[in-house]
């Protein structure tokens, strides 16, 4: 039977995500690289006690509306940007392993508020160690030593070892149950290509979980993607689901 990783509905793509799952959620901090419809489907499924892993814990719907106005002179923010803040605001998250949970200045993200209210646990980690921990998981590396974080809160509870006169921390691989990633095009084998700066954590997380689900703009026939240009080989991807052509509200089954 022909390999076919294409799933027709977002609700079907996330159907087996369970309470207390560890979700590696792609994206960085803007709308273009965010797996919005996968996040929306997880919100609809209303699973609880999730651990979310990623750059930020999201802005959430209210702050996204604020950003839409504030950033209008720079970037038009689409109506269908749903980020991990949606899951946090709906009390679906128990823990975050994040690099950028706190907003700059006197804005408070939903995750920040949840930390202050004692509702979530935070493991703060810089982007370099976070991304390498996921790459390690993807590549079967149990742990690695990095100089980053020595002499800071990141060192707490970690083995310190000196190499060439410089102290390093032992950082453990970080494997998810599900990676939710956003890509540009896919084929039925799960091969993915991205656009511009949207590779970011998406391509890093693809393959770093037991199941990787890719939200894509377009599915193309095998062969349409130049093998020389495939960024994520299909072996790392278990499911592919296509974004709607027109923006849809997050709470509408699809």
């Amino acid at each position: 039977m022909a390999v076919n990783k294409i799933v027709s509905r977002f609700d079907e793509a996330v159907a087996d995500i369970h309470d207390a799952a560890v979700l590696l959620i792609g994206g960085f901090g803007g709308p273009g690289e965010c797996p919005s419809y996968l996040i929306a489907a997880v919100a609809r499924k209303a699973v609880k006690n999730l651990t979310i892993v990623g750059n930020s814990g999201g802005w959430g719907p209210q702050l996204i509306d604020v950003l839409r106005t504030r950033m209008a002179v720079l970037l038009r923010i689409p109506p269908d940007w749903y980020d991990p803040g949606l899951l946090v605001e709906r009390d679906q998250v128990r823990k975050g392993i994040l690099s950028f949970p706190a907003a700059p200045a006197h804005i408070y993200t939903p995750f920040e508020k949840a930390v202050m209210d004692g509702k979530v646990e935070l493991e703060l980690i810089g982007q370099g160690s976070l991304s390498e921990r996921m790459r390690a998981a993807k590549g079967g590396i149990a742990a690695f030593y990095t100089p980053v974080g020595v002499g800071t809160i990141v060192e707490e509870g970690k083995e310190v070892r000196e190499f060439d006169g410089r102290k390093h921390l032992l950082e453990m691989a970080l494997k998810g149950d599900y990676s939710l990633v956003r890509a540009y095009k896919a084929d039925r084998y799960g091969n993915l290509v991205y656009r511009g700066s949207s590779r970011t954590f998406n391509a890093t997380m693809a393959g770093a979980s037991t199941v990787t689900i890719a939200e894509v703009d377009e599915v193309v026939e095998p062969g349409a993607l130049d093998p020389e240009h495939i960024v994520t080989p299909g072996v790392y991807v278990q499911r592919v689901v296509v974004r709607p052509r027109e923006p849809r509200p997050w709470d509408e089954p699809m």
Partner: protein
């Protein structure tokens, strides 16, 4: 009576004088981002942004030309540029951790006399954000901090021991403020330049850490 304090644009202009032709430079969010506006035409600088782009162009100022799939780490849309490369996050930090970034320009809350950097928290906030700044502070070949010399309340930010949580110990090489430039040396802080109208004594009075004065102390060039 000391002179005026430099505005953000002028501080950014001063930082940009540290750029050498062909350097790979990462700019943090805030004043550091402004530095890209002051690259002299005879120099080519390759800007890296930790979300996964290298060699991009200026920040887009017209939303009609903005591409949500070409943003910098401050989530500002940037222009593509011939020779640009894109990559994923793990690769971006292989680049950073591996020492392939010549210069990182970062903002700061505080810098200690040993060059310890504090910049991942905000006063009064319980939760901080490292972003990519910690890796840059630890691993860039040279780290330049740009910040106001004192807090809004007038308290020194260049101090003996950090009072805010440490981002990276002994990582800062050079500090550009709104009244001075200071090099971090093995013998402590060396005052290199002063803003027009400011004396070394004026600057020491706003600096908790002890400054040595460079024998060739100069005024910061404003052009």
């Amino acid at each position: 009576m000391p002179g005026e304090r430099l505005d953000e644009q002028t501080m950014a202009l001063r930082v940009a004088k540290e750029f050498q032709d062909g350097m790979v430079v990462n700019l943090g969010v805030g004043i550091p981002t402004l530095c890209s506006n002051f690259v002299p035409p005879e120099k080519e600088i390759i800007f890296q942004s930790e979300n996964g782009i290298l060699g991009f162009g200026p920040i887009v100022t017209d939303p009609d030309e903005a591409d949500e799939n070409l943003i910098n780490a401050g989530v500002q849309p940037v222009q593509p540029k011939p020779g640009m490369a894109v990559f994923d996050h793990a690769e971006s930090f292989v680049m950073i951790r591996g020492g392939h970034i010549d210069l990182a320009v970062l903002g700061a809350l505080e810098v200690s006399e040993r060059g310890d950097l504090a910049n991942y928290t905000l006063p009064g906030k319980q939760v901080g954000s490292f972003g990519g700044g910690q890796d840059l502070a630890f691993c860039a070949k040279r780290v330049v901090v740009v910040m106001t010399h004192t807090t809004r309340e007038g308290k020194p930010k260049i101090i003996k021991e950090l009072t805010s949580p440490t981002t990276a110990p002994a990582c800062v090489d050079f500090i550009v403020t709104d009244i001075a430039t200071i090099e971090v040396t093995d013998q402590g802080l060396l005052l290199k330049e002063t803003a027009p109208g400011w004396t070394a004594e004026d600057i020491q009075a706003l600096t908790e850490a002890q400054l040595r004065v460079a024998p060739d102390l100069k005024e910061i060039a404003l052009l």
